[in-house]
Amino acid sequence: MRAIWQDIRFGARMLAKHPGFTAIAVLTLALGIGANAGIFTILRQVVLQRLPVPHPEQLVLLYSPGPKQGHVNSDESSAPGEDGAESFSYPMYANLRDRNSVFTGLAAKDTFSATLTFRGNTERARADLVSGNYFETLGVTAAIGRTFEPADTAAPGSNPVVMLSSGYWKSRFGADPGVLNQSVLVNNRPMTVVGVVSASFDGIQPGFVPEIYIPITMIPSLTPAPTDLNNHKDYWIKLIGRLRPGTSRERAAAGLAPLYSALLRDELPLFTGWDDAKKAEFLAKKLILRNGARGRPQLSSGAGPQLTALMGMVGLVLFIACANVAGLLTARGAARQREIGIRLSLGASRGRLIRQLVVESFLLSVTGALLGLVIAAWTSSSLVRFAAENGIADGLSSALSPSVLAFTCALALVSGVLFGVAPSLRATRVELVSTLKEQSGALSSGLRHTRLRQGLVVCQVALTLLLVTAAGGFARSLFNVKHIDLGLRTAHVLQFSVAPQLNGYDQARSFAFFGQLEDRIAAVPGVLSLSGTQEPLIADSDRGSNVTVEGEPPALAGTRHVMRNAVGPRHFSNMGIPLLKGREFTRADVAGSPKVAIINETMAKTFFPTGDALGRRMKFGGGSDPLDMEIVAVVKDSHHSGVKEEPRPFVYIPYAQEKNIGALTYYVRTSQSPETLASTVRGVVNELDSSLPIDGVRSFEGQINRQLASDWLIASLAEIFGALAALLAAIGIYGLLAYAVTQRTREIGVRMALGADTGKVGRMILEDVSRLVGIGVLLGLPLAYGLSRLVNSMLYGVKAFEFVTVGSALLVMVFVALAAAYLPARRATRVDPLVALRYE
């Protein structure tokens, strides 16, 4: 132990005595380790972390893919044919909960947008509607007060109680315990605060942190739109169950199958218009139980692959960093041959010297890791802030948890071994006699004696090519995405949302409010036009229905699905969507007037392939009701929910003819910078109703950028990591060539004395670097091809292994090699033969 302490002391002194070397090595490692720890901090929370509840391994999420009829509210991206598989009706939930024998508890939840008014101040709040047994099933307790109980959801609207999340209690109520049993208004409905949820619990959906919890049976009294809890055809609830101890998912699924089949048989008569095959498909639906230990998978399935790709990239950066430091240590080992020879002659064993050198390596890696933690904290807090600001995920923590610290320690250990052991083994292989005699008279021969460093540089080049190729792929993908024609005029538009329904407005009052708001904003100087939409644009917000159109084969009636939105007058001119035929909606298109619809080009081509759509009639849904809407226009396709979406059949109706409009998102076109209009808009809303929150005030271009945030993030990080790898590779190549030129000074002197000109000497150096880079590229290309197959699914309109991307990456590598070789080559060509031949 004492000997190791001596090694540590000596190692620390050696590092302190060579501050340049130490700084480069530590900084290189810190960047590699820090980037890894930073990305891991996020990856752990998104992909790896279990819910902070007792026995999370017992939790399962319920899915049931297959035919549905009615309204489906889905919030998971699913495989084809599995749309809405995660959503269940309330009656189905109640039956499963009460009649199963495999769960100790089956809980339900759905996310909900609410306003909460306290002491006259109204704010939007993220809410979870949860079943009465939700907290009991999860094993989550209250920090103060109580959690919900099954009795809280015994009957619709019976218990107007609310729980606060710990974070919301602190931020909105200053952690005042006096808030217990006080009344607040949720969506203008008085409710009593009965408890604050334990601080460790942030809901079961990573990335969405509820601020308040509301009993699920309160939903009918919180929205004017009637929500019928007895409706078997309204799929909106997400289920999470806790298996009985010792019950596997497979056994539980088998145990549930008879019950589920019976429930489906009971429901079947409610589903009309299906042929026998469809009915058989419905009755064959299965309940699938998926691992719920990590909660609902929206964030992990959305951002998980990208984070995993980033983790792989930073892993490669760390590997390159280790190769670089190994190269530096090898060079230092060569410079310390004499010291090592002396120690060996004095009786140090080789093992002892290897230990001493490895201790020095670990000092470097530990110092790098400590500095890396600072970089990790900065990286993760930047990522967390970026994710929150761009709506990617809430509630992520940038704190360096014990597992991140353990991960960093492991990285330090592994990197210490990676870069320390091989150079130590090499450095202690000393030719004792000649080393001690300083026999350095022989001419060295190029890079022949630096095989280890050459190997390291070749690895660096290969891996850098890999990263630069990936970075090129992501950069081109982002370029493609940014240049997608959305079919919308995006500049000089301010958007904002208001939801008077959440403040208790009924439909008539809401329409009156919208009318006043539109008039007032239209009168603001600089405002050119405005329009409102029920579903916000480019915000991942979708709404769809089956339709029946005039003239279609009867078998198709009510079976084809289209997307829909309710929009205000002059929406298409306001958003720059060209009208191909017909007219815009006007203020005359109101509830009592003839119902009208506008369809997009894709719908016109799909539903009316041979004739003119204009003047044809249609309706939402099937059945025998008359076709109640007339198509009054066809507009050009435009993007609705996302930047990367493909054109889909789309129906627009006037929002004034929609049954239930509780909220609108407005798009205000202005002649000035849209942000300058924000305070004016707030003022107008405030004048109309000071208690009405205004949400999502930002430029429309800002909204589109939020949509592209994750693409931008991965492309930017890939470029940063690619650049870092290229820089490290350049340093590696430079270090090797500079060392080789120093070793070859006498040889170069002899060559020059014998008549070699500077061009020949320069070429000699370039040949060395060309050979190394060539081998690295040959090794790197197949790796890049392999990688491209992994990342192609994350790219848009481009493949990672394409001529342009790979060609650009090769050009980058040539540039890196030439830049790295420039100084050593120049030094070689400036060798003075007279001086060199005296060189020692």
Partner: protein, 237 residues
């Protein structure tokens, strides 16, 4: 411990051949040599005659191609690397032409090094290093680094390092080779003092003046011992 008649080193038929590519270089041929405990012996000869090779084999830095070599009664020609390392550490003290002090260690730490590898306790190390440095007159430079010392002073420190572990024999390879004549003389006087106090010394030199400091000189030429002289009185310079 030397054998009954005091023989510390015994070489019989030692050969050393270097193989480089297709060239065989016979550095030593048929070396027969006995060194008794307490002897001061010098190995002399022109450059390239094999004297440093012989010293390297004597000091277990290298091994013979053929022949027997016994150190202190123990055959050492075929020992493993770790056994040779252990013997170098405990029974041999080296003094090199280029001093071979470690520039990043202080005088104290340089001298302490063989004891560190031996596992000697800190307090014992401290005492032994102090004694060794006092013997060579360098105790006042404990905290200095080699670069802060003159060549002569560095070689004194190197001598202290060779002495500190109480070795059976001191191996000195051209100890004055990098010194001016004044410092060279001083180092030779130091070695003579050590010998007078009982040290066994084996020194390689190509300088006849310094060879004469030894009581016995063997002359090498083309890898063979061609002559051996024995002085009746030590230090006839």
């Amino acid at each position: 411990m030397a054998d009954a008649n005091g023989t510390l080193i015994k070489m019989e038929g030692v050969k050393k051949v270097f193989f480089t590519d297709e060239v065989e270089t016979h550095a030593l041929e048929e070396i027969h040599l006995e060194i008794k405990k307490g002897t001061y012996i010098s190995i002399a000869g022109p450059s390239g005659c094999g004297k440093s090779t012989l010293l390297s084999i004597l000091g277990l830095l290298d091994s013979p191609t053929e022949g027997n070599y016994e150190l202190n009664g123990q055959p050492v020609a075929k020992l493993t690397i770790s056994e040779r390392t252990r013997i170098r550490n405990r029974e041999i003290g080296f003094i090199f032409q280029a001093f071979n002090l470690i520039g990043d260690l202080t005088v104290y730490e340089n001298v302490e090094l063989p004891l560190t590898y031996r596992g000697t306790s800190s307090s014992e190390r401290k005492q032994k290093v102090q004694n060794a440095l006092e013997r060579v007159g360098m105790a006042h430079r404990l905290r200095h680094y080699p670069s802060q010392l003159s060549g002569g002073q560095q070689q004194r420190v190197a001598v202290a390092r060779a002495l500190v572990g109480d070795p059976l024999i001191l191996m000195a390879d051209e100890p004055t080779g990098n010194l001016d004549s004044k410092n060279g003389e001083a180092v030779m006087e130091l070695l003579r003092d050590l010998h007078r106090n009982g040290a066994t010394i084996c020194m390689v030199t190509h300088d006849q003046r310094y060879a004469n400091f030894a009581e016995r000189t063997i002359h090498l030429f083309d890898g063979r011992i061609v002559e051996e002289t024995q002085e009746a009185r030590v230090g006839a310079n």
